[in-house]
């Protein structure tokens, strides 16, 4: 006898619904905080929604989202291949700096060549940052979480150091690098932006993100490379037994993940920032990548949507103080979403709620 699935069973068994529920709960908890702070929920959330009612707003969200999407793909790829790339932060930073060096020092090259060179430099250095960690792990058995945390900080100070070097540092008083050459910029033409009423930083990055998403999907699902990396990720012993080079695969996986994080750094620089400041603390794009990967269930398409969602919250969140609500509300909402995703087992058990015991 075929039984029609009840509504609760449908909710319980659908992973997508779990994420949706988590997001709703995130906003609910955010609302509770707003009420406690005696702020208007309608006004604050209205602000968030209003931020995407215009073409300008939507393009802003997309611009914000691009580095998150690509960083998220980096972390998602690492999850799929059995490593936890908590080092995306550092790879992002060195990637961004590599692109800056190329974009500043080789600024006279023609635009397409320069852009591709910037990408390649960022990906190579990001990959290198990943490979070092993989090498330490495979050669000396050094815990990768530990060394990634170390290399995040090394990347951070290295970037600050390079940003202060003559020939890179801004000529003015700014504690930052020079602006990258216009030839390395990915912004749409000024007139076009004006005509379409886009955000002033609207750029080609989203197309790169789409391409990367598709490439990662194909690698993971359709290629022997993906098969190998996943096999190592799920069960190192069986993979080795099956003749797969485990150490080589770990290096490859972290190299690809690192290259993506590095590329995310380049996209952020060439699409939005234009230069790199000497920061007093880490900016957290890599950590955001972890969150985006989690919300997107490490599925490339899911990560893309999650990145847009995160970009929206970051952009919309920056407008929150206009209504007197703290920007930090966004972190509480996102944190809650991730928390509920972690315990989504409670949603899977909903179906037992009204069932008789026995």
């Amino acid at each position: 006898m075929k039984k029609k699935k009840s509504f609760l069973e449908f909710v319980s068994d659908n992973k997508f619904i779990h994420i949706l529920l988590s997001i709703i709960l995130g906003f609910l908890i955010g609302a509770i905080f707003l009420v406690i702070m005696r702020l208007s929920v309608g006004e604050a959330y209205g602000r968030l929604l209003k931020s995407i009612t215009s073409v300008k707003g939507i393009t802003y969200v997309i611009v914000y989202a691009v580095p998150y999407i690509v960083a998220g793909l980096s972390v998602a790829f690492s999850f799929k291949t059995g490593v936890f790339n908590i080092g995306a932060e550092g790879q992002f930073v060195v990637g961004s700096m590599a692109a800056a060096i190329v974009g500043i020092r080789l600024g006279t090259l023609p635009k397409p060549v320069l852009i591709i060179l910037c990408f390649l430099a960022a990906m190579a250095v990001g990959a290198l940052w990943g490979i070092i960690v993989a090498f330490l792990k495979t050669k000396w058995g050094i815990n990768e979480v530990l060394s990634m945390i170390m290399f995040n900080w090394i990347a951070f100070y290295l970037s600050n150091f390079i940003a202060g070097l003559p020939g890179i540092k801004s000529d003015g008083s700014a504690e930052a690098t020079q602006n990258i050459s216009d030839n390395a910029s990915m912004l749409f033409p000024k007139e076009f932006i004006k005509k379409m009423d886009f955000a002033p930083t609207a750029n080609w990055g989203i197309f790169v993100a789409i391409v990367i998403m598709i490439v990662i999907y194909i690698i993971i699902d359709k290629t022997t490379l993906g098969y190998r990396l996943k096999a190592v990720g799920f069960n190192k012993n069986a993979a080795e037994y099956g003749g797969i080079n485990v150490n080589g695969s770990i290096m490859t996986a972290l190299a690809i993940s690192g290259a993506l994080a590095g590329l995310a750094g380049a996209l952020q620089l060439m699409g939005m920032g234009g230069r790199i400041s000497i920061f007093s603390s880490q900016e957290g794009f890599g950590f955001a990548g972890i969150v985006v990967a989690l919300i997107g269930c490490s599925n490339p398409f899911g990560v893309f949507v999650a990145g847009l969602f995160y970009g929206w919250l970051m952009y919309g969140g920056s407008k929150l103080n206009l209504v007197g609500a703290p920007t930090q509300l966004i972190n509480v909402i996102v944190g809650t979403v991730v928390f509920f995703i972690a315990i989504s087992v409670i949603f899977s058990n909903l179906k037992y709620l009204f069932r008789k015991k026995g």
């Binding site: 815990n143 979480v145 996102v334 944190g335 928390f339 972690a342 315990i343 409670i346």
Partner: protein, 314 residues
């Protein structure tokens, strides 16, 4: 020569000051990891502790009440992590990531409400954790100045060294410690001997939050006297690194944290004199850690059941 001794004193002082919060958090991390729960939420728990400690000290005027409340705030987030990971079997990395967003998110929002700023108001000298032996040795001799430098540390530092001994004792000399370590290695074996793995882990994760909270509180209640959103950035992760470095043992974490503290101290002294690039010097602790790992430490024994949810079948 005098200069050198002077610098040495400052380095030792800085070592202790930097190592103290790491060590509290590191001891916390030990409890959680050894009982079998990965806790990368230490960072968020420290932030919560830093804010709460400062605010309570500011409003009550009593640093010790503040310090303890900092711990309790950390314990609250520890409890959240425990509910997710121990009771509901959540992925420990995901839950920890959530804690790292929620902790800072919530406290900074409260800061905005209380102070209309993301920073708290700086503590006065009496609201800070006291420096017990400040100036005790006189400033007439080189030795006196050296000792003064070293013992300019705060009470929280002396406490944490006592805490290391206590934690070591608990881990290796008590019934609780034996059972806790067993839970991290073979939870099923514990269950068959009537040890309640769930409550043991729950308690340990809450304890780890408490200690991380204390660690956070001593960042903002000693040298720096106010909470700012960047007060904690990264220190929770460094504490975790120190624990992995120390092979998940409290005495090992002590070595790891002192190493980080020492490198940071070196940074302060070298950074003061010109000729060295500040940013390059700042890298030293991290590079040294990696090198020490390669040369002396190598693989560490991770508790066998670490990271694996324990779900009772009924």
């Amino acid at each position: 020569m005098n200069n050198f001794i002077n610098s040495l004193g400052i380095i030792l002082y800085a070592t202790l000051v930097y190592a103290t919060p790491l060590l509290y958090a590191g001891l916390g991390s030990c409890f959680s990891e050894v009982s079998g729960v990965v806790n990368i939420g230490i960072e968020g728990m420290m932030t919560a502790g830093a804010f709460t400690g400062t605010v309570v000290a500011y409003f009550t005027g009593n640093p010790w009440i503040g310090f303890i409340c900092g711990g309790l705030a950390g314990a609250f987030f520890g409890m959240l992590h425990a509910v997710a990971t121990v009771l509901l079997g959540a992925d420990q990395t995901i839950a920890g990531t959530a804690i790292n967003m929620l902790g800072p998110g919530i406290v900074i929002m409260i800061a905005k409400v209380l102070f209309d700023s993301t920073d708290t108001i700086p503590l006065t000298a009496t609201q800070k954790i006291p420096q017990l032996f400040s100036g005790l040795f006189g400033t007439d001799t080189t030795f006196g100045r050296f000792m003064n430098n070293v013992f300019a540390t705060y009470a929280s530092t002396y406490l944490v060294f006592i805490a290391v001994i206590v934690v070591w004792f608990v881990f290796y000399k008590t019934r609780f410690g034996l059972r806790m370590r067993a839970c991290g290695e073979h939870p099923m074996a514990c269950e068959t001997l009537g040890i309640n793995v769930i409550s043991m882990r729950f308690l340990c994760v809450c304890l780890s939050g408490f200690l991380a909270g204390l660690g956070g509180a001593c960042v903002t209640m000693t040298v720096s006297t106010q909470f700012r959103p960047i007060s904690i950035v990264g220190q929770g992760f460094i504490a975790i690194a120190a624990v992995i470095f120390g092979k998940f043992r409290p005495q090992g974490a002590l070595v790891g944290c002192l190493l980080f503290g020492f490198c940071s101290g070196l940074k302060v002294v070298l950074g003061g004199s010109s000729g060295f690039n500040m940013h390059l010097i700042s890298m030293i602790p991290y590079i040294v850690t990696v090198i020490v790992l390669i040369l002396f430490v190598g693989k560490s024994h991770v508790p066998a059941a670490n990271g694996k949810p324990y779900i009772k079948s009924r």
